[in-house]
């Protein structure tokens, strides 16, 4: 069918330029991506198992090792770790999950394909953020169950406690998610993303009081850990899940709610700025 040239081509299709007016909003496209994102997440059983079992298993192991009660209290070191471990759970479902999955979307061409449609970057991130929110909530419920049933943590009994738990949880998700998005830009593929997210994540557990209680850490580790959000998330969770008297075992001698809020907010704003600055749709320039 070697047609001679273009002039005689049949019925060329042209559309009025206002066809864009009927486009769904970026937010609506984003919402339509939530269920597919969840399906892609839970259809990888190995990833699912790792994300949800690692923090719980580590919590059980460490809690069993540090079972002695702290002097003058009815609280074990294991309980302190269990309360702090929520921070690791969120880091795992936000930072690690996003860092790897965005690098994978870039590697497989999913992002480039989306870029060729009227979807925007915000549509894409709405899907991812909802995935992180739901996975983090599930993770938090698992870890709270372990904490309450095994380590006798007390869920907050007052509104203020739930309020604190909620904002630490939400700000923690936001700051860690943005860090994950940021880090994904430096990974060439999903495998290298796994390394550059899990590596720092494990290191941070030691600096942030989730693997080892803060009171046994040398000062330089305390200072290094204080730079990053995990330490503050863990501190916020301890403040509502442990008895009030446990504040004596905090290095600062206080729960430092304002400081926690400011540090997490600063990471969120800085993370957003960095992501807007460096986010790449593809590995091409």
């Amino acid at each position: 069918m070697a047609i001679e040239s273009a002039e005689n081509a049949s019925r060329p299709r042209r559309r009025a330029d206002d066809s864009g007016s009927a486009l769904p909003s970026a937010v609506r496209i984003g919402w339509s991506r939530v269920v597919p994102e969840l399906k892609m997440f839970y259809r990888r059983p190995e990833q699912l198992a790792l994300t949800f079992s690692m923090p719980a298993v580590i919590c059980l192991l460490l809690g069993s090792i540090f079972s002695a009660k702290l002097p003058g209290t009815e609280t074990s070191t294991g309980a302190v770790i269990a309360a702090s471990m929520l921070a690791y759970g969120i880091l795992s479902t936000s930072f690690i999950n996003l860092g790897i999955s965005i690098a994978a979307d870039r590697e497989t061409g999913a992002l480039r394909r989306l870029r060729g449609t009227p979807a925007t970057a915000s549509s894409y991130f709405i899907g991812k953020i909802m995935l992180v929110a739901i996975a983090s909530l599930a993770e938090a419920i698992i870890l709270l169950l372990v904490g309450v049933l095994v380590f006798r943590l007390d869920l907050p009994t007052e509104v203020f406690g739930w309020f604190t738990l909620t904002w630490v949880f939400i700000l923690g998700i936001i700051s860690c998610s943005l860090l994950g998005i940021f880090v994904s830009n430096f990974a060439g593929n999903a495998v290298s993303a796994a390394v550059i997210t899990n590596g720092p994540a494990v290191g941070l557990q030691f600096l942030s009081g989730t693997y080892v209680p803060l009171m046994v850490l040398p000062t330089w580790m305390l200072i290094a850990g204080s730079i990053f959000p995990v330490k503050w998330m863990a501190q916020g969770f301890r403040s509502v899940l442990l008895p009030a008297q446990m504040v004596l075992f905090e290095p600062a001698g206080s729960w430092e709610h304002w400081r926690t809020f400011l540090v997490l907010a600063a990471w969120s704003i800085g993370g957003l700025t960095a992501c807007l600055y460096v986010f790449r749709w593809s590995d091409r320039s």
Binding site: M1, A2, I3, E4, S5, A6, E7, A9, S10, R11, P12, R13, R14, R15, D17, S19, G20, S21, A22, L23, P24, A26, R28, I29, S32, R33, P36, K39, M40, R43, R44, D105, T108, G109, A110, R112, R113, L114, R115, G116, T117, P118, A119, T120, S123, W281, S282, R284, S285
Partner: protein, 278 residues
């Protein structure tokens, strides 16, 4: 706006490598236009710039009247893109993937009908990662034409296909072109360009070597036909612009010319000549 695609003086370099140099192209509405060239000739770089996936270093580019580097969402709703190689959405089913992309547009085809059109209806419940190469490509095309684009880009759409799958794929492309969709494809298969394209641009070393219809491109290079026949054990080969006359002369006594063949230069001959291999 007279053309679907207009390119003037397009250049793109990766470091010291000049992938595309001073390229001009014009694709009319409703055309099937093929960019043909060996691997590394700059085909994909060119099409990716036209799709808005890559930045250019120099030149003017207009695709459906807009600059792909700055065009917005409504422009992307009017084009369809089939990328070179993808492995995304492996864990979703075919139907789930199509439905997800349908939601990106204001006006999209009905997913089930779309899968019928591209011949994937029987695989709609399969996970994308279980599809064969040909099926996967059909899904890529389905996602590319989901909003009935005015212009469809296909980057090496049949690489790795067996001949039967390739012919089926060509039928699908012709079907889309029959609806008036402008199609711009890259390929390194000559027979694909010859079978599908109204016009072919041959690119070599990032430069445009020639652009014309497959027939005229071939004629352009060499209009002589090659006549071959056997006399005893001897094989005769003659090149002539008048093969009928030659055969009449040779068989004046009514002699049968054994194993007579008359061949015209193929697009392949033209292509090899143009990319400087002959």
């Amino acid at each position: 706006m007279t053309s679907a695609v207009t390119v003037r003086g397009l250049s793109k370099a990766y470091g010291r490598l000049h992938a595309v140099r001073d390229l001009d192209l014009e694709v009319g509405f409703g055309e099937i236009f093929a960019i043909l060239g060996p691997n590394g000739a700059g085909k994909s770089t060119t099409i990716e710039i036209l799709e808005g996936h890559r930045k250019r270093d120099a030149g003017q580019v207009r695709v459906l009247g807009e600059d792909p580097g700055t065009a917005g969402r409504s422009w992307r709703a009017r084009i369809g893109i089939v990328l070179q190689e993808t492995s995304d959405f492996g864990m979703l089913t075919v139907l789930e993937t199509v439905r997800m992309f349908a939601k990106c547009y204001g006006d999209a085809r009905v997913p089930e009908e779309l899968l019928e059109l591209v011949g994937l209806a029987s695989s709609s419940g399969s996970k994308v990662r279980t599809l064969s190469g040909g099926q996967r490509r059909r899904l890529d095309v389905a996602l590319g034409i989901i909003a009935e684009p005015e212009l469809l880009f296909l980057d090496e759409p049949t690489t790795g296909f067996d001949p039967e799958a390739r012919r089926q794929f060509w039928d699908l492309i012709r079907l889309l072109a029959g609806d008036g969709t402008t199609i711009l494809l890259t390929t390194h298969y000559l027979e694909e360009a010859a079978a599908l394209a109204d016009r072919v641009a041959v690119i070599a070393g990032g430069r445009l070597a020639a652009v014309d219809s497959p027939a005229r491109l071939t004629a352009h290079v060499n209009s002589a036909a090659t006549v071959r026949w056997m006399e005893g054990d001897e094989c005769h080969v003659e090149q002539t612009p008048h093969p009928t006359e030659l055969i009449r002369q040779r068989s004046t006594e009514g002699a049968e010319l054994a194993q007579l063949t008359v061949t015209r230069p193929t697009l392949e001959d033209a292509y090899l000549h143009l990319v400087g291999l002959v």
